[in-house]
């Protein structure tokens, strides 16, 4: 069942400039977690603000539970949309206790039921003992959880999370991601969250929407996004893809690093770019190898090598960190593609 329907929404801050959000359409089902992934300036935060009602669309419409809340010339104010938000800086009210913050959106309830609901949501986020504390007495992770409890308490139709983990330390981030996902699944909340980290997007979301220059490039499951990117941008943004030119023949795509079986139906003779990711590429040291290691980037769990092929083409290969090759070594390259992804050759 669709909870949120965004249809052709465009938001242009300034005339004569490309829109911040450009004809974006998407729908989110009840209980679904959708991640909006994109580099900074891709329009993902603007899209979030359009849904929340802090921005108004120049074209298109936003509907929540079948009711249009925004279209040109009409807008339901944010306070009447039933949209909860967890802000990047948490935006806890500094003059209110944890309890007061969580109770803030429960003004419609009587005192007794409000108190009960506050308690149950503080238990949900695991902070029942901190009810009397003020925000400045909490750690970053605790503030995050209070903000989450506060946004969830009024039972919003949609919960929006803006870069929810970006303000947390790296060691806390993994744990918080798990905790937050658990809470969201438990409450069966419909969620859209914005991030520029693909780990976060892939780890939590049911579906991921990739945004670039205000356009929704692709909206699909994390696996499909990764393995079957719809556009070269998605391929590059998600997983450091490189492209090797090739020509479609009867036996597959012929490139100068090998021939790959094609499972699509491209016309023979078509010129294409074949997507190759570092984890598709392996190599073995070989004195007669055609490639040379030109750069080595140790990353801990893996090492990223830059290889120079005959003719000057460069490929990246990620290897387990125990593999030891040094700059200048001659290697033989092997490319193994599970899914061969091609894009029409860019001019």
């Amino acid at each position: 069942m669709t909870v949120l329907e965004v249809a052709g929404v465009t938001r242009r801050y300034r005339r004569n400039q490309p829109p911040a959000v450009d004809a974006v359409s998407l729908s989110v089902a009840r209980g679904e977690i959708l991640a909006l992934l994109g580099p900074s300036g891709s329009g993902k935060s603007t899209l979030l603000r359009l849904i929340a009602g802090f921005e108004l669309p120049d074209a298109g419409s936003v509907a929540i539970n079948g009711r249009v809340v925004a279209e040109p010339g009409f807008a339901v104010p944010p306070e009447r949309r039933g949209v909860g938000i967890v802000f990047q800086d948490y935006a806890l009210f500094p003059h209110l206790t944890v309890e007061g913050n969580v109770a803030f959106g429960l003004h419609a309830l009587d005192r007794r039921r409000r108190r009960e609901r506050v308690r149950s949501f503080l238990e949900l986020v695991g902070l029942p003992t901190l009810a009397r504390r003020y925000p400045h007495e909490l750690s970053g992770g605790q503030q995050q959880l209070v903000a989450l409890a506060r946004a969830l308490a009024p039972a919003p139709a949609v919960l929006l999370l803006d870069e929810p983990f970006s303000n947390l330390d790296a060691d806390l981030r993994g744990q918080m991601r798990e905790d937050v996902e658990k809470i969201l699944r438990e409450t069966e909340t419909t969620v859209i969250f914005v991030t520029h980290g693909q780990d976060e997007a892939f780890g939590i979301a049911d579906r991921v929407g990739v945004l670039a220059h205000g356009r929704l490039e692709q909206l699909d499951t994390p696996e499909t996004i990764y393995h079957r990117p719809a556009t070269p941008f998605v391929a590059q943004f998600v997983g450091d893809a490189r492209f090797v030119p090739g020509v479609v023949r009867a036996g597959g795509v012929v490139t100068d690093v090998g021939t790959f079986a094609l499972d699509g139906d491209a016309p023979a003779g078509a010129e294409v770019d074949v997507m190759i990711r570092p984890d598709d590429v392996t190599f073995v040291p070989a004195a007669d190898g055609a490639a040379v290691v030109v750069h080595r980037d140790f990353r801990g769990t893996e090492t990223l090598y830059c290889l120079s092929l005959p003719g000057g083409r460069r490929l990246y290969a990620s290897q387990p960190s125990w593999a030891t090759a040094v700059v200048g070594d001659r290697v033989r390259v092997e490319i193994r593609l599970e899914h061969v992804v091609t894009f029409p050759r860019r001019p």
Binding site: E79, R80, V83, G84, F87, L92, F93, H95, R150
Partner: protein
């Protein structure tokens, strides 16, 4: 106008056209020429004597330089106040004869003696000069001196003149029966001073002012070389007056605006509006607002800057309207800032002096004005109470705010 119905002839600074002004010689000459009154400007010396000197300094009229107010009578007594008038007297056969007694500095006491001893009654118009460092002491000494001649009661030959409303007010307080003349040298709205000046006060417009502003003014009847014409009991709409000339320009402009407003109201509504700006607290409140706006603005602005916009949005996403968010989020967060701004402005306002002095409605005094008036009359003991009251009144909200804010931490 003299009681006889014709102008009174008053010798300005003595017979000062030919003789050196403010010398005994000049005054005796004036009396001998038939003057019915003598005019003299008085100043106080460092040792408390009233002397007849017009300028603040002796430089123009004596053969020395210095401030009257810092010199003692003995010092002044050694100076020659007459030679400047006729520098070539020794070569000039027609020059008045120089008499040492008649060319020295003239004390007011000596002038009073001369008037008292003269064979016919002579009026005496004494002008006190302000501002001066001795402020109210001048009038006190003057009244004491006049009193010793029995000249502070009705029928006294002496009257006191000044451009300073406050100076005349003092005289009236010390000697209610003495005539006082409010001198006027500029045309301000009559309405301004109508309320200020006592009913029995005499208005003294300068001759220039009379010439310029009184319709039907008869030049022939008021020859200019008398100097000043003192018009008794001119009809109110012709009576000119001024607020002390030291009051600043802004007041005359407000008065002008008031005039425009009153005229417009009368014309449009057929109602008499009165003095909306200068006659009410509006002007002074406006001045306070302008003067202390920055204080309040800066303090509140600093508090406001500490509230990130995401708090507004968080509140609204929690189902709260903008107005409610203002009440539940902004007001509590700004409270400290607003309270401290109010306290600051309160303290500044109760001790504010210049704008209050210029713009207050007539008859309204603030504590600061009380203190200022009393200290300017050297009434230190009497100034203490309002001064302490200022401290107390300023302290109360400060303590309240401190306690309120302290309790919240």
């Amino acid at each position: 106008m003299h009681n006889s119905g014709r102008p009174q002839v008053v010798a300005h600074r003595g017979s000062s056209l030919v003789n050196a002004e403010h010398t005994l010689g000049a005054y005796i000459a004036a009396l001998d020429e038939g003057a019915e009154g003598l005019e003299a400007d008085v100043r106080l010396t460092a040792d408390g004597h009233l002397v007849c000197v017009h300028d603040r300094r002796v430089d123009r009229t004596a053969n020395a330089s210095g401030l009257v107010s810092t010199m003692e009578l003995a010092q002044l007594d050694e100076l020659d106040f007459a030679s400047w008038k006729n520098p070539w007297a020794e070569l000039d056969d027609e020059a008045p004869e120089m008499d040492l007694e008649k060319s020295k500095v003239l004390t007011l006491r000596r002038l009073l003696d001369a008037v008292a001893d003269y064979e016919r009654p002579v009026d005496l118009a004494i002008e006190t000069k302000h501002p001066t460092r001795y402020a109210g002491l001048v009038e006190r000494r003057l009244v004491e001196l006049l009193d010793s001649y029995g000249w502070t009661r009705k029928g006294s030959p002496a009257r006191v003149m000044s451009f300073s409303y406050r100076a005349l007010n003092r005289v009236k307080r010390l000697a209610p029966e003495l005539d006082v003349v409010m001198l006027v040298d500029r045309l301000y709205a009559w309405q301004l001073t109508k309320k200020l000046v006592g009913e029995d006060w005499i208005a003294g417009p300068g001759i220039e002012l009379l010439r310029e502003n009184l319709a039907g003014f008869d030049r022939a009847r008021y020859p200019g070389d008398i100097g000043l014409a003192f018009a008794h009991e001119l009809p109110p709409n012709e009576r000119l007056s001024l607020l002390a000339s030291r009051r600043e320009r802004i007041e005359s402009e407000l008065a002008w605006l008031d005039g425009v407003l009153a005229t417009a109201a009368e014309w449009l509504l057929g109602e008499r509006l009165g003095l909306v700006l200068t006659g009410s607290a509006a002007a002074v409140l406006f001045a306070y607002a302008v003067r202390f706006l920055a204080v309040g603005y800066q303090t509140t602005e600093a508090a406001l800057a500490r509230i990130p916009p995401s708090l507004d949005e968080a509140a609204r996403s929690l189902g709260v309207t903008m107005r409610t968010a203002l009440r539940r989020v902004h007001v509590p967060l700004l409270r400290g800032g607003i309270l401290s701004a109010l306290t600051l402005i309160w303290v500044e306002t109760i001790k504010e002096l210049p704008a209050t002095l210029l713009l207050r409605p007539f008859g309204i005094k603030t504590l600061a004005i009380e203190v200022w008036e009393r200290t300017s009359e050297s009434l230190w003991a009497e100034a203490a109470l309002p001064a302490l009251a200022i401290v107390a009144v300023g302290l109360v909200p400060l303590l309240l705010v401190t306690r309120l804010e302290g309790g919240r931490r």
